[in-house]
């Protein structure tokens, strides 16, 4: 990773956090769908990134979100689970012939249909764990499933939209 892509990488992370904390925090579409856009940052990290780094990045990113949301530990737990599942899921849905070296699993590299099948389960795992912890003890699996499903769809749409609008298609060499 050269210095330029490192700066872009950090900058992207900061922007996503700001959007998450300042805008998406107060937004719930139809009262059920919440956007977890910042998770896109973890999903789009390069395919062969170190598992340990992935877990640590996810945990601290989640914790940072938690502090703003006053839900300490909940986002962190969910994001860590996603970071743990991600490598296995990537292996499970690898295209024939495997991934290109240093590929990133984002929309422009892999195409829309692949991206949906990649991100939907991960967003769902995230939302499901998050709402399960949140509604713990109040009983109501149906409510949790309902909220998770719509939050997943909403988050995924946001992630796709952001990538289509703001991420440049990288030049192929």
């Amino acid at each position: 990773m050269n210095i330029r892509s490192l700066i872009t990488f950090i900058f992207t992370g900061i922007i996503l956090m700001v959007v998450q904390v300042l805008f998406l925090k107060n937004l719930a579409v139809f009262g059920v769908a919440m956007g977890f856009l910042y998770l896109m940052f973890i999903l789009d990290l390069s395919i062969n990134s170190n598992k340990i780094n992935l877990l640590l990045i996810a945990f601290f990113l989640g914790l940072l979100i938690d502090i703003f949301y006053d839900t300490i530990g909940m986002h962190a737990a969910a994001a860590t689970l996603v970071a743990f599942v991600r490598p296995y899921w990537l292996k499970a849905i690898s295209p024939t012939g495997g991934y290109d070296e240093s590929n990133r699993p984002d929309l422009h590299e892999m195409g829309l249909s692949w991206y949906i099948s990649y991100s939907f389960p991960l967003f769902f795992i995230y939302s499901f764990l998050f709402f399960t912890i949140d509604q713990w003890g109040t009983g109501g699996l149906l409510g949790v499933l309902y909220k998770s499903l719509f939050s997943t769809i909403f988050s995924m749409l946001l992630a796709i939209l952001v990538q289509v609008l703001f991420f440049k298609r990288r030049r192929r060499i």
Binding site: K25, F59, D70
Partner: protein, 279 residues
């Protein structure tokens, strides 16, 4: 031995995952009790200032409405003052009898961040230790109760919202004077449940519910809401009562904080009598 270490090393990602999840669960659990002090939250100086800037901007757009509301309240208070105020003369300068010492002290604050969509909702206020805010103070606004202060930092504080399944508030049905507890069930943000009202009590839809003043957080008589539904529920001893909140939680900008000056005295008395007060 080397084998074991190699085995553990090959599992390092999984072990780290377990460790991080355990830390997260520990944070959730230790933060979840309504009394417990929180480690990190939005009352922290850095995070508080970010949220305050955001709220500064969005509140600016609501200024006209806020002004109108304040004017209305002022007029109401002036009208009330008219009744109480007596002409002072020289005999009034004596120190007041302890019966007349104000039991409650009021402060104002602005809500700079708030959650609504979870089972455990919180509010962040822009006043903290340096303004005299203490954990345990009651929070309410002109239309009714809002919550209770949980933690304070130097300049900010975090309050548990009434819309938090962990908070119970002692309250009473106004016409009959029967006491119960208000608790949110995590479903609808405009409704709370009223617990521990015995079956023989005649409560009906439309009755007003106010705070009872029993748990010394709120003074007596602050509005909670209006009874919406009374049912003979599944519980053999108690009624199922749904109360519609008078506070609109989607529109809270300015709140009042109330502190009971005699809470220590009451607590010591309770301790001597070996009564354990839940909150």
């Amino acid at each position: 031995m080397l084998r074991i270490l190699q085995f553990l090393y090959s599992l390092r990602a999984f072990l780290l995952f377990l460790l991080l999840e355990l830390v997260a669960i520990w944070l959730i659990v230790s933060n979840n009790s309504p009394q417990g002090a929180a480690f990190f939250n939005s009352s922290n100086a850095v995070f508080g200032s970010v949220l305050k800037t955001q709220s500064d901007i969005s509140d600016f757009l609501d200024l006209a409405e806020a002004n109108e509301e304040l004017l209305r309240q002022n007029a109401e208070l002036l009208a009330r003052l008219e009744v109480v105020e007596i002409n002072r003369d020289s005999t009034d300068n004596q120190p007041l009898d302890s019966n007349f010492v104000a039991e409650h002290e009021f402060k104002s604050a602005r809500v700079i961040a708030q959650t609504l969509r979870y089972a455990q909702n919180h509010l962040t206020l822009d006043k903290g230790k340096s303004h005299g805010v203490k954990p345990g103070m009651g929070v309410f606004n002109h239309s009714g109760i809002v919550g209770r202060v949980k933690t304070v930092s130097e300049n900010y504080s975090v309050a548990i919202s009434v819309l938090n399944t962990g908070l119970l508030i002692s309250s009473k049905i106004k016409p009959s004077g029967v006491y119960g507890s208000i608790n949110w069930d995590g479903q609808n943000t405009t409704e709370v449940k009223m617990l521990y009202i015995p079956r023989h009590v005649e409560a009906q839809a439309g009755d007003t519910v106010v705070t009872s003043g029993y748990n010394a957080i709120f003074p007596e008589g602050i509005a909670v809401g209006v009874i919406k539904k009374v049912e003979q529920g599944s519980n053999q001893n108690y009624l199922d009562i749904v109360v519609e909140l008078s506070t609109d939680f989607s529109k809270i900008n300015y709140v009042y904080l109330v502190e009971n000056n005699q809470i220590e005295e009451r607590d010591t008395l309770n301790q001597e009598a070996e009564i354990v007060n839940e909150y």
